[in-house]
């Protein structure tokens, strides 16, 4: 019983991190069928920046600085390169550009930060474990779950209540109508892209004390985030949250129960969901 609780909580803390990476991926894909294959790179860059900054500005400083730095980088790349290739009919160009960017980031990170595996202790204030009555659990992981919930709610409020959120929803629903109403859909997509990259980097920072940081984590994370996105059905932040929980729990229980075959559990989930529901588990309609 207590083991099941531990697995579930582990799964939920991983779900928080997956959500942070997947939400930007899902929104940019929903907005302009724009698939960002460099998104895992932004996640790993966040983690590496955290490891480098933690000695000078502390973990909490890195929590602010690293995502901002990645956001500036993503905004720059989007403005200078990617925006010129917006539009559904240019999917091949977008894939080549973001895949190219992913390779460049991966190589540069290996050169700058080295190839060894690095881990980070939980930050002060959140170190240690807490007694949950039937089992003890790391406080830091509970905090990660909480942060995930706060981000989910913040994004829901931003999408519902702010001008940017309304423009995002309008552009996602029908891009040509939104454009004809005077919304600069290119800019909306660009802003979402940069914010999504920042969130992925944020996920990298809060993930650094849980997941060992190493070369290759960028593509591994990208694939997991893509699983979250397609299981949810792209474009909806709320569905992405449910889907992240599902994938996080599957991963956690898979690792615990069938350690050598945990990948199989996830890919079986993915295959079964998509074959039964080609547009995702939580999508109400087919994407346009």
């Amino acid at each position: 019983m207590d083991l099941i609780l531990l697995y579930a909580l582990n799964g939920l803390s991983y779900a928080s991190i997956l959500y942070l990476v997947a939400v930007g991926l899902s929104l940019t894909y929903g907005l302009g069928r724009f698939l960002d294959l460099a998104h895992g790179g932004f996640y790993l860059l966040g983690a590496y920046l955290c490891l480098s900054l933690v000695d000078s500005v502390g973990f909490y400083g890195a929590l602010v600085v690293a995502p901002l730095a990645v956001m500036v980088l993503a905004a720059g790349v989007e403005r200078l390169v990617l925006r010129r290739y917006a539009g559904q009919h240019r999917a091949v160009e977008q894939m080549l550009l973001t895949f190219g960017l992913a390779f460049i980031l991966s190589d540069l990170m290996r050169t700058v930060f080295g190839g060894r595996i690095r881990s980070l202790p939980a930050p002060e204030l959140l170190a240690g474990t807490i007694d949950l009555g039937i089992a003890s659990f790391p406080i830091y992981r509970l905090a990660v779950i909480l942060v995930g919930l706060i981000v989910v709610m913040t994004i829901a409020i931003v999408l519902r209540r702010t001008r940017l959120g309304t423009m995002v929803r309008a552009a996602a629903a029908d891009r040509s109508v939104a454009a004809s109403l005077g919304i600069d859909t290119g800019r909306v997509l660009g802003t979402t892209y940069a914010l999504g990259a920042g969130l992925a980097a944020f996920g990298g920072v809060i993930g650094a004390p849980i997941i060992a940081t190493s070369t290759g984590l960028d593509f591994a994370t990208l694939i997991l985030a893509l699983i979250v996105v397609v299981v949810a059905g792209a474009g909806s932040a709320g569905a992405t949250f449910s889907s992240a929980i599902l994938v996080g729990l599957f991963d956690s229980f898979g690792r615990a129960l069938v350690p050598r075959l945990s990948v199989v559990a996830l890919f079986l989930l993915l295959a079964v969901v998509l074959i039964m529901r080609p547009y995702g588990l939580f999508a109400r309609r087919a994407p346009g």
């Binding site: 091949v92 160009e93 894939m95 890919f267 993915l270 998509l274």
Partner: protein
Amino acid sequence: MVVTIAALVIGGRTVFVATQAAILGIGALGLALVVARVGLISLGHGAFFGIGAYTSALMARDLGTPSVLGLAGGVGAAMAYGAFVGPLALRTRGLAFVMVTLAFGELARVALQQSVGLTGGDTGLSGIPRQPWAEDPRVGLVVTAAVLLATLEGARWLMATTFGRSIDAARQDESKASSLGYPVARWRTILFVISAGVTGLAGALFAHHTSFISPELLSWLTSGELLVMVLVGGALSLAGAVMGAIGLTFAEDLVTSRTDHWELVLGALLMLVVLSGWLRRGRP
């Protein structure tokens, strides 16, 4: 053809690389049948490549079957898995298709990795015999290049038939093509299986070429590599995919023999292909 002759003249290591380029050209051609003709991006063709490689390698090494039979076995096994994956994956479109093919690719990789008794698991298979015609590497290159050309011509012929043309038409307008009475869904599945077979053939040739294979061959990294070759070749052209494969194989050999920053060069190349406008030549 030009590349083959040039490689024969230079000789030595270039012959090895050129043979590899021709093999990957066949692999990319197989993938291009789905990407360029059906219009769906598969990230699971690494599995067909790997299944072809393992089947042919095991038949030749442990059963001692004649090489051509081994190659046929590789193609057959890849087509069989393609016939299982195709109908399921083709229920989806777009990103979902990418992810379903990825899932089945990774499932095949793990299954093969876990069948330690048969495949040796993570240690891989070594000591795979050379093809009898490849005793002289230069003859091996000529044979491989001939297989590549024959496959390319065969694929072109296939796509010029009613079968191929209606799949082409369905890429541009699916409902229109099926309303004309063509069984587009069934034909797409058949093309997917053929595509798996062609990539499986490349895998089978690859196993005897390198004489060592490991389960990594089935991973999405192989799929990604083949996909990049197809996309660099313009994503709509079968010959382009072959050229992309040859170009990238030589580029990789050139770069990795000098620095360990192949990823950086590859990334920059991919972006340059787009930014230079090379990809859009001759398109509206």
